[in-house]
Amino acid sequence: MNFVTIANLTREKILYMIEMASEFERHPNRELLKGKVVATLFFEPSTRTRLSFETAANRLGARVIGFADPKVTSGTKGETLKDTILMVANYADVIVMRHFIEGAAVYASEISPVPIVNAGDGAHQHPSQCMLDLYSIYKTQGTLENLNIYLVGDLKYGRTVHSLIMAMRHFNPTFHFVAPKELAMPKEYKLYCDEHGIKYQEHTAFNEKVIQDADIVYMTRVQKERFSDLMEYERVKNVYILNNDMLRLCKPNMKILHPLPRVNEIAQDVDDNPHAYYIQQAANGLFAREAIFADVLGITLEQVKADTTIIS
Protein backbone atom coordinates (compact mmCIF):
# COMPACT_ATOMS: atom_id res chain seq x y z
CA MET A 1 0.00 0.00 0.00
CA ASN A 2 1.20 3.52 -0.78
CA PHE A 3 0.45 7.01 0.51
CA VAL A 4 0.95 9.34 -2.44
CA THR A 5 -2.19 11.45 -2.77
CA ILE A 6 -5.01 12.76 -0.60
CA ALA A 7 -7.46 13.25 -3.47
CA ASN A 8 -8.75 9.68 -3.62
CA LEU A 9 -9.03 8.97 0.13
CA THR A 10 -12.59 8.11 1.14
CA ARG A 11 -14.40 9.67 4.04
CA GLU A 12 -14.04 6.40 5.98
CA LYS A 13 -10.33 6.20 5.29
CA ILE A 14 -9.73 9.78 6.46
CA LEU A 15 -11.62 9.16 9.71
CA TYR A 16 -9.78 5.85 10.15
CA MET A 17 -6.40 7.58 9.75
CA ILE A 18 -7.44 10.28 12.24
CA GLU A 19 -8.42 7.64 14.79
CA MET A 20 -5.10 5.90 14.22
CA ALA A 21 -3.21 9.18 14.70
CA SER A 22 -5.01 9.77 18.00
CA GLU A 23 -3.95 6.29 19.19
CA PHE A 24 -0.38 7.25 18.42
CA GLU A 25 -0.81 10.53 20.25
CA ARG A 26 -1.89 8.61 23.37
CA HIS A 27 1.17 6.38 23.10
CA PRO A 28 3.71 7.78 20.66
CA ASN A 29 6.64 5.58 21.75
CA ARG A 30 6.43 1.94 20.70
CA GLU A 31 8.38 -0.82 19.06
CA LEU A 32 5.74 -1.49 16.46
CA LEU A 33 8.24 -1.13 13.61
CA LYS A 34 11.15 -2.83 15.38
CA GLY A 35 13.37 -4.55 12.82
CA LYS A 36 12.07 -2.40 9.98
CA VAL A 37 14.18 -0.01 7.95
CA VAL A 38 12.66 3.25 6.72
CA ALA A 39 14.40 5.12 3.88
CA THR A 40 13.96 8.89 3.58
CA LEU A 41 15.01 10.10 0.14
CA PHE A 42 14.97 13.89 -0.06
CA PHE A 43 15.76 14.89 -3.64
CA GLU A 44 14.85 18.39 -2.49
CA PRO A 45 15.83 19.56 1.00
CA SER A 46 12.98 19.99 3.50
CA THR A 47 14.34 19.83 7.01
CA ARG A 48 11.02 20.20 8.78
CA THR A 49 9.23 17.43 6.91
CA ARG A 50 12.22 15.10 7.03
CA LEU A 51 12.68 15.52 10.80
CA SER A 52 8.99 14.82 11.34
CA PHE A 53 9.08 11.60 9.30
CA GLU A 54 12.35 10.45 10.83
CA THR A 55 11.10 11.14 14.34
CA ALA A 56 7.92 9.18 13.61
CA ALA A 57 10.00 6.24 12.38
CA ASN A 58 12.36 6.39 15.35
CA ARG A 59 9.57 6.60 17.90
CA LEU A 60 8.05 3.46 16.42
CA GLY A 61 11.35 1.60 16.76
CA ALA A 62 12.36 1.55 13.09
CA ARG A 63 15.82 2.42 11.86
CA VAL A 64 16.28 5.15 9.28
CA ILE A 65 18.56 5.40 6.25
CA GLY A 66 18.55 7.99 3.48
CA PHE A 67 19.78 11.34 2.35
CA ALA A 68 18.77 14.90 3.16
CA ASP A 69 20.42 16.64 0.27
CA PRO A 70 20.25 15.66 -3.40
CA LYS A 71 23.84 16.78 -3.97
CA VAL A 72 25.12 13.59 -2.36
CA THR A 73 23.09 11.20 -4.54
CA SER A 74 23.83 9.62 -7.87
CA GLY A 75 20.86 11.46 -9.36
CA THR A 76 23.40 14.18 -10.04
CA LYS A 77 25.41 11.58 -11.97
CA GLY A 78 22.40 11.00 -14.22
CA GLU A 79 20.84 7.99 -12.51
CA THR A 80 17.13 7.63 -13.20
CA LEU A 81 14.58 7.86 -10.39
CA LYS A 82 13.57 4.30 -11.25
CA ASP A 83 17.05 2.93 -10.61
CA THR A 84 17.39 4.86 -7.34
CA ILE A 85 14.02 3.60 -6.09
CA LEU A 86 14.67 -0.02 -7.09
CA MET A 87 18.11 0.07 -5.47
CA VAL A 88 16.83 1.52 -2.19
CA ALA A 89 13.88 -0.91 -2.21
CA ASN A 90 16.50 -3.67 -1.84
CA TYR A 91 17.43 -2.24 1.54
CA ALA A 92 14.34 -0.63 3.03
CA ASP A 93 10.82 -1.75 4.00
CA VAL A 94 9.26 1.61 3.13
CA ILE A 95 10.47 4.65 1.18
CA VAL A 96 9.59 8.22 2.10
CA MET A 97 10.42 10.52 -0.78
CA ARG A 98 10.45 14.23 -1.42
CA HIS A 99 11.06 15.38 -4.98
CA PHE A 100 10.97 18.65 -6.91
CA ILE A 101 9.49 16.90 -9.96
CA GLU A 102 5.68 16.67 -10.14
CA GLY A 103 4.21 13.18 -10.25
CA ALA A 104 7.49 11.60 -9.08
CA ALA A 105 5.83 9.83 -6.15
CA VAL A 106 3.01 8.36 -8.25
CA TYR A 107 5.60 7.01 -10.68
CA ALA A 108 7.76 5.64 -7.88
CA SER A 109 4.73 3.88 -6.40
CA GLU A 110 4.11 2.15 -9.74
CA ILE A 111 7.60 0.69 -9.96
CA SER A 112 8.54 0.15 -6.33
CA PRO A 113 8.16 -3.26 -4.67
CA VAL A 114 7.95 -1.55 -1.25
CA PRO A 115 5.44 1.11 -0.12
CA ILE A 116 6.05 4.73 -1.17
CA VAL A 117 5.12 7.65 1.07
CA ASN A 118 4.96 11.00 -0.72
CA ALA A 119 6.62 13.72 1.34
CA GLY A 120 5.90 16.31 -1.35
CA ASP A 121 6.41 16.28 -5.12
CA GLY A 122 6.97 19.78 -6.47
CA ALA A 123 3.86 21.92 -6.62
CA HIS A 124 1.74 18.78 -6.96
CA GLN A 125 0.92 17.01 -3.68
CA HIS A 126 1.94 16.97 -0.04
CA PRO A 127 -0.51 14.50 1.46
CA SER A 128 1.10 14.00 4.88
CA GLN A 129 0.75 17.75 5.48
CA CYS A 130 -2.92 17.46 4.60
CA MET A 131 -3.32 14.51 6.96
CA LEU A 132 -1.89 16.49 9.87
CA ASP A 133 -4.08 19.48 8.95
CA LEU A 134 -7.15 17.24 9.06
CA TYR A 135 -6.06 15.72 12.35
CA SER A 136 -5.50 19.21 13.79
CA ILE A 137 -8.94 20.36 12.67
CA TYR A 138 -10.57 17.24 14.10
CA LYS A 139 -8.70 17.53 17.39
CA THR A 140 -9.58 21.18 17.94
CA GLN A 141 -13.19 21.06 16.74
CA GLY A 142 -14.13 17.53 17.79
CA THR A 143 -15.48 16.90 14.29
CA LEU A 144 -14.78 17.56 10.62
CA GLU A 145 -18.46 18.16 9.83
CA ASN A 146 -20.10 21.48 8.86
CA LEU A 147 -17.14 23.75 9.62
CA ASN A 148 -16.47 27.30 8.41
CA ILE A 149 -12.94 27.24 7.10
CA TYR A 150 -11.16 30.44 6.07
CA LEU A 151 -8.19 30.04 3.76
CA VAL A 152 -6.03 33.17 3.75
CA GLY A 153 -3.11 34.43 1.67
CA ASP A 154 -1.65 32.64 -1.34
CA LEU A 155 -4.50 30.49 -2.61
CA LYS A 156 -3.12 30.28 -6.13
CA TYR A 157 0.10 28.37 -5.50
CA GLY A 158 -0.58 27.01 -2.00
CA ARG A 159 -0.85 23.27 -2.51
CA THR A 160 -1.85 22.69 1.14
CA VAL A 161 -5.04 24.70 0.69
CA HIS A 162 -5.90 22.84 -2.52
CA SER A 163 -5.44 19.46 -0.84
CA LEU A 164 -7.54 20.60 2.11
CA ILE A 165 -10.47 21.45 -0.17
CA MET A 166 -10.33 17.99 -1.75
CA ALA A 167 -10.07 16.16 1.55
CA MET A 168 -12.83 18.20 3.23
CA ARG A 169 -15.34 17.56 0.43
CA HIS A 170 -16.77 14.62 2.39
CA PHE A 171 -17.66 16.77 5.41
CA ASN A 172 -19.95 19.57 4.18
CA PRO A 173 -17.61 22.50 4.84
CA THR A 174 -18.15 26.17 3.99
CA PHE A 175 -14.96 27.68 2.64
CA HIS A 176 -14.01 31.34 2.58
CA PHE A 177 -11.21 32.24 0.20
CA VAL A 178 -9.42 35.37 1.40
CA ALA A 179 -6.71 36.48 -1.03
CA PRO A 180 -5.42 39.31 -3.20
CA LYS A 181 -6.67 39.13 -6.78
CA GLU A 182 -3.32 38.03 -8.11
CA LEU A 183 -3.24 35.04 -5.75
CA ALA A 184 -6.96 34.19 -5.80
CA MET A 185 -8.19 30.59 -5.73
CA PRO A 186 -7.76 29.19 -9.27
CA LYS A 187 -10.86 28.53 -11.33
CA GLU A 188 -10.24 24.78 -11.45
CA TYR A 189 -10.63 24.50 -7.66
CA LYS A 190 -13.76 26.65 -7.65
CA LEU A 191 -15.15 24.33 -10.32
CA TYR A 192 -14.14 21.41 -8.12
CA CYS A 193 -16.16 22.97 -5.28
CA ASP A 194 -19.16 23.43 -7.58
CA GLU A 195 -18.97 19.84 -8.78
CA HIS A 196 -18.81 18.50 -5.24
CA GLY A 197 -21.45 20.79 -3.75
CA ILE A 198 -18.92 22.64 -1.56
CA LYS A 199 -20.09 26.12 -0.51
CA TYR A 200 -17.58 28.95 -0.79
CA GLN A 201 -17.31 32.73 -0.67
CA GLU A 202 -14.48 34.92 -1.90
CA HIS A 203 -13.09 37.96 -0.10
CA THR A 204 -10.27 40.37 -0.82
CA ALA A 205 -10.63 42.17 2.53
CA PHE A 206 -9.11 40.57 5.62
CA ASN A 207 -10.25 41.98 8.97
CA GLU A 208 -11.92 40.99 12.24
CA LYS A 209 -15.41 41.14 10.72
CA VAL A 210 -14.53 38.84 7.82
CA ILE A 211 -13.30 36.07 10.12
CA GLN A 212 -15.81 36.38 12.95
CA ASP A 213 -17.73 33.22 11.93
CA ALA A 214 -14.61 31.13 11.40
CA ASP A 215 -14.02 27.77 13.04
CA ILE A 216 -10.62 27.49 11.35
CA VAL A 217 -8.44 30.27 9.93
CA TYR A 218 -5.79 28.66 7.75
CA MET A 219 -3.01 31.17 7.05
CA THR A 220 -0.48 30.87 4.22
CA ARG A 221 2.44 33.02 3.19
CA VAL A 222 2.12 35.69 0.50
CA GLN A 223 5.47 35.46 -1.26
CA LYS A 224 6.98 38.33 -3.19
CA GLU A 225 8.30 36.07 -5.97
CA ARG A 226 4.72 35.02 -6.84
CA PHE A 227 3.85 38.51 -8.11
CA SER A 228 4.40 39.59 -11.69
CA ASP A 229 3.45 43.14 -10.68
CA LEU A 230 5.60 44.36 -7.78
CA MET A 231 3.38 47.41 -7.26
CA GLU A 232 0.56 45.00 -6.55
CA TYR A 233 2.76 43.16 -4.05
CA GLU A 234 3.62 46.39 -2.24
CA ARG A 235 -0.07 47.23 -2.10
CA VAL A 236 -1.21 43.92 -0.59
CA LYS A 237 1.82 42.69 1.38
CA ASN A 238 0.51 43.99 4.68
CA VAL A 239 -3.16 43.23 4.06
CA TYR A 240 -2.99 39.51 4.74
CA ILE A 241 -1.31 39.70 8.11
CA LEU A 242 -3.15 38.35 11.12
CA ASN A 243 -2.59 40.23 14.38
CA ASN A 244 -3.97 39.93 17.87
CA ASP A 245 -6.45 42.81 17.49
CA MET A 246 -8.26 40.95 14.72
CA LEU A 247 -9.21 38.11 17.09
CA ARG A 248 -11.61 40.09 19.31
CA LEU A 249 -14.81 39.04 17.57
CA CYS A 250 -13.93 35.45 16.75
CA LYS A 251 -15.72 32.35 18.01
CA PRO A 252 -14.30 30.69 21.14
CA ASN A 253 -13.55 27.44 19.30
CA MET A 254 -11.69 29.16 16.46
CA LYS A 255 -8.13 27.94 15.83
CA ILE A 256 -5.43 29.42 13.63
CA LEU A 257 -3.49 26.98 11.48
CA HIS A 258 -0.43 27.54 9.30
CA PRO A 259 1.62 24.92 7.43
CA LEU A 260 4.84 26.75 8.50
CA PRO A 261 7.37 28.20 8.05
CA ARG A 262 5.78 31.51 8.93
CA VAL A 263 7.47 34.78 8.06
CA ASN A 264 5.36 37.80 8.98
CA GLU A 265 1.83 36.76 8.02
CA ILE A 266 0.98 35.98 11.63
CA ALA A 267 2.18 38.71 13.98
CA GLN A 268 4.26 37.51 16.94
CA ASP A 269 1.63 38.89 19.35
CA VAL A 270 -0.77 36.15 18.22
CA ASP A 271 1.50 33.37 19.50
CA ASP A 272 0.27 33.59 23.09
CA ASN A 273 -3.38 33.90 22.13
CA PRO A 274 -5.33 30.69 22.89
CA HIS A 275 -6.61 30.71 19.31
CA ALA A 276 -3.07 30.14 18.00
CA TYR A 277 -2.55 26.50 17.12
CA TYR A 278 0.19 26.37 14.47
CA ILE A 279 2.94 25.06 16.73
CA GLN A 280 0.76 22.24 18.12
CA GLN A 281 -0.33 21.61 14.53
CA ALA A 282 3.29 20.78 13.64
CA ALA A 283 3.46 18.44 16.64
CA ASN A 284 0.40 16.63 15.30
CA GLY A 285 2.47 15.89 12.21
CA LEU A 286 4.40 13.33 14.21
CA PHE A 287 1.26 11.35 15.11
CA ALA A 288 -0.19 11.65 11.61
CA ARG A 289 3.07 10.31 10.16
CA GLU A 290 3.22 7.45 12.66
CA ALA A 291 -0.27 6.52 11.42
CA ILE A 292 0.88 6.75 7.80
CA PHE A 293 3.81 4.40 8.46
CA ALA A 294 1.58 1.88 10.19
CA ASP A 295 -1.00 2.01 7.44
CA VAL A 296 1.37 1.57 4.48
CA LEU A 297 3.07 -1.33 6.26
CA GLY A 298 -0.26 -3.11 6.64
CA ILE A 299 -0.71 -2.56 10.37
CA THR A 300 -4.39 -2.03 11.13
CA LEU A 301 -6.10 0.22 13.66
CA GLU A 302 -7.10 -2.94 15.58
CA GLN A 303 -3.48 -3.97 15.81
CA VAL A 304 -2.43 -0.49 16.91
CA LYS A 305 -5.06 -0.58 19.65
CA ALA A 306 -3.96 -4.06 20.77
CA ASP A 307 -0.28 -3.14 20.51
CA THR A 308 1.83 -4.73 23.27
CA THR A 309 5.05 -2.95 22.28
CA ILE A 310 4.09 0.38 23.87
CA ILE A 311 6.92 2.07 25.74
CA SER A 312 5.11 5.26 26.76
Binding site: T80, K82, F100, E102, G103, Y107, D121, G122, E188
Partner: protein
Amino acid sequence: MNKKERLVAAIEHGTVIDHIPAAKTYQVASLLGLFDLKTPVTIGINYPSQKVGNKGIIKVSDKFFTDDEISRLSVVAPNVILSIIRDYEVVEKKAVETPSEIHGIVKCNNPKCITNNEPMATHFHVENNILTCHYCEREQDISHVELV
Protein backbone atom coordinates in the same frame (compact mmCIF):
# COMPACT_ATOMS: atom_id res chain seq x y z
CA MET B 1 -14.72 5.00 -61.86
CA ASN B 2 -15.03 8.57 -60.66
CA LYS B 3 -12.37 11.23 -60.94
CA LYS B 4 -11.34 11.17 -57.31
CA GLU B 5 -10.49 7.52 -57.33
CA ARG B 6 -8.27 8.01 -60.31
CA LEU B 7 -6.21 10.60 -58.46
CA VAL B 8 -4.72 7.88 -56.28
CA ALA B 9 -4.33 4.37 -57.55
CA ALA B 10 -6.87 1.89 -56.19
CA ILE B 11 -5.64 -0.92 -53.94
CA GLU B 12 -6.70 -4.55 -53.96
CA HIS B 13 -6.47 -5.26 -50.23
CA GLY B 14 -5.68 -2.84 -47.45
CA THR B 15 -6.79 0.35 -45.76
CA VAL B 16 -7.62 3.80 -47.09
CA ILE B 17 -7.34 6.60 -44.55
CA ASP B 18 -9.36 9.58 -45.65
CA HIS B 19 -10.32 13.04 -44.40
CA ILE B 20 -6.97 13.73 -42.76
CA PRO B 21 -6.37 17.48 -42.34
CA ALA B 22 -3.61 18.03 -44.95
CA ALA B 23 -1.07 19.37 -42.46
CA LYS B 24 -1.50 16.32 -40.22
CA THR B 25 -0.95 13.72 -42.93
CA TYR B 26 2.64 12.91 -42.04
CA GLN B 27 1.82 12.77 -38.33
CA VAL B 28 -0.90 10.24 -39.06
CA ALA B 29 1.50 8.19 -41.16
CA SER B 30 4.07 8.33 -38.39
CA LEU B 31 1.59 7.42 -35.61
CA LEU B 32 0.52 4.35 -37.59
CA GLY B 33 4.15 3.37 -38.15
CA LEU B 34 3.72 3.44 -41.92
CA PHE B 35 7.34 4.40 -42.54
CA ASP B 36 8.40 1.04 -41.14
CA LEU B 37 6.09 -1.01 -43.38
CA LYS B 38 7.39 -3.12 -46.25
CA THR B 39 4.10 -3.02 -48.19
CA PRO B 40 3.27 -0.23 -50.68
CA VAL B 41 2.04 3.00 -49.07
CA THR B 42 0.65 5.94 -51.05
CA ILE B 43 0.49 9.29 -49.31
CA GLY B 44 -1.34 12.15 -50.98
CA ILE B 45 -1.89 15.65 -49.66
CA ASN B 46 -3.77 18.83 -50.56
CA TYR B 47 -6.86 17.23 -52.06
CA PRO B 48 -9.87 19.53 -51.78
CA SER B 49 -12.27 18.44 -49.04
CA GLN B 50 -15.55 19.87 -47.78
CA LYS B 51 -15.04 18.38 -44.32
CA VAL B 52 -11.52 19.51 -43.42
CA GLY B 53 -10.43 22.07 -46.06
CA ASN B 54 -7.39 20.58 -47.72
CA LYS B 55 -7.08 16.94 -46.88
CA GLY B 56 -4.64 14.12 -47.06
CA ILE B 57 -5.31 10.53 -48.16
CA ILE B 58 -3.20 7.52 -47.31
CA LYS B 59 -3.57 4.13 -48.96
CA VAL B 60 -1.83 1.18 -47.39
CA SER B 61 -1.75 -2.16 -49.17
CA ASP B 62 -2.16 -5.44 -47.28
CA LYS B 63 -2.43 -3.78 -43.89
CA PHE B 64 -5.38 -3.72 -41.50
CA PHE B 65 -5.15 -1.69 -38.31
CA THR B 66 -6.31 -2.70 -34.85
CA ASP B 67 -8.79 -0.52 -32.96
CA ASP B 68 -5.96 0.34 -30.60
CA GLU B 69 -3.80 1.62 -33.44
CA ILE B 70 -6.71 3.58 -34.85
CA SER B 71 -7.56 5.22 -31.54
CA ARG B 72 -4.09 6.79 -31.48
CA LEU B 73 -5.17 8.99 -34.37
CA SER B 74 -7.80 10.70 -32.26
CA VAL B 75 -5.27 13.12 -30.83
CA VAL B 76 -4.21 14.52 -34.22
CA ALA B 77 -7.05 13.81 -36.61
CA PRO B 78 -10.36 12.98 -34.94
CA ASN B 79 -12.42 13.13 -38.18
CA VAL B 80 -10.44 10.50 -40.02
CA ILE B 81 -12.34 7.66 -41.74
CA LEU B 82 -10.67 4.35 -42.44
CA SER B 83 -12.03 2.21 -45.27
CA ILE B 84 -11.15 -1.45 -45.20
CA ILE B 85 -10.65 -2.72 -48.77
CA ARG B 86 -10.87 -6.33 -49.91
CA ASP B 87 -10.85 -7.22 -53.62
CA TYR B 88 -11.09 -3.51 -54.53
CA GLU B 89 -14.33 -3.17 -52.54
CA VAL B 90 -14.92 -1.18 -49.36
CA VAL B 91 -16.08 -3.84 -46.89
CA GLU B 92 -16.08 -1.69 -43.76
CA LYS B 93 -15.69 1.94 -42.71
CA LYS B 94 -14.29 2.86 -39.32
CA ALA B 95 -14.36 6.21 -37.57
CA VAL B 96 -11.78 7.17 -34.98
CA GLU B 97 -12.94 6.91 -31.39
CA THR B 98 -11.23 8.86 -28.65
CA PRO B 99 -10.02 6.41 -26.02
CA SER B 100 -10.48 7.10 -22.29
CA GLU B 101 -6.79 6.42 -21.65
CA ILE B 102 -3.83 7.37 -23.82
CA HIS B 103 -0.46 5.72 -23.24
CA GLY B 104 2.57 7.27 -24.91
CA ILE B 105 1.91 9.31 -28.09
CA VAL B 106 1.26 12.64 -26.35
CA LYS B 107 3.76 14.73 -24.41
CA CYS B 108 2.83 16.31 -21.09
CA ASN B 109 3.08 20.10 -21.41
CA ASN B 110 4.35 20.51 -17.85
CA PRO B 111 8.17 20.70 -18.03
CA LYS B 112 8.37 19.76 -14.35
CA CYS B 113 6.33 16.58 -14.87
CA ILE B 114 8.12 13.31 -14.13
CA THR B 115 7.34 12.08 -17.66
CA ASN B 116 9.55 14.85 -19.07
CA ASN B 117 12.37 14.04 -16.68
CA GLU B 118 12.57 10.26 -16.69
CA PRO B 119 12.78 7.72 -19.55
CA MET B 120 9.17 6.50 -19.30
CA ALA B 121 5.89 6.47 -21.22
CA THR B 122 3.33 9.21 -20.70
CA HIS B 123 -0.20 8.33 -19.55
CA PHE B 124 -3.31 10.50 -19.80
CA HIS B 125 -6.93 10.18 -18.73
CA VAL B 126 -9.28 11.61 -21.35
CA GLU B 127 -12.64 13.21 -20.61
CA ASN B 128 -14.54 15.71 -22.79
CA ASN B 129 -11.47 16.21 -25.01
CA ILE B 130 -9.37 17.19 -22.00
CA LEU B 131 -6.26 15.15 -21.33
CA THR B 132 -5.22 14.94 -17.68
CA CYS B 133 -1.71 13.71 -16.96
CA HIS B 134 -1.85 10.59 -14.80
CA TYR B 135 1.30 11.72 -12.96
CA CYS B 136 1.25 15.50 -12.46
CA GLU B 137 -2.50 16.02 -13.21
CA ARG B 138 -1.81 18.95 -15.56
CA GLU B 139 -4.66 19.29 -18.06
CA GLN B 140 -4.44 20.06 -21.78
CA ASP B 141 -6.90 20.30 -24.62
CA ILE B 142 -6.78 17.46 -27.11
CA SER B 143 -6.63 19.88 -30.06
CA HIS B 144 -3.41 21.49 -28.75
CA VAL B 145 -1.33 18.48 -27.84
CA GLU B 146 2.28 17.96 -28.78
CA LEU B 147 3.31 14.46 -29.76
CA VAL B 148 6.15 12.57 -28.11
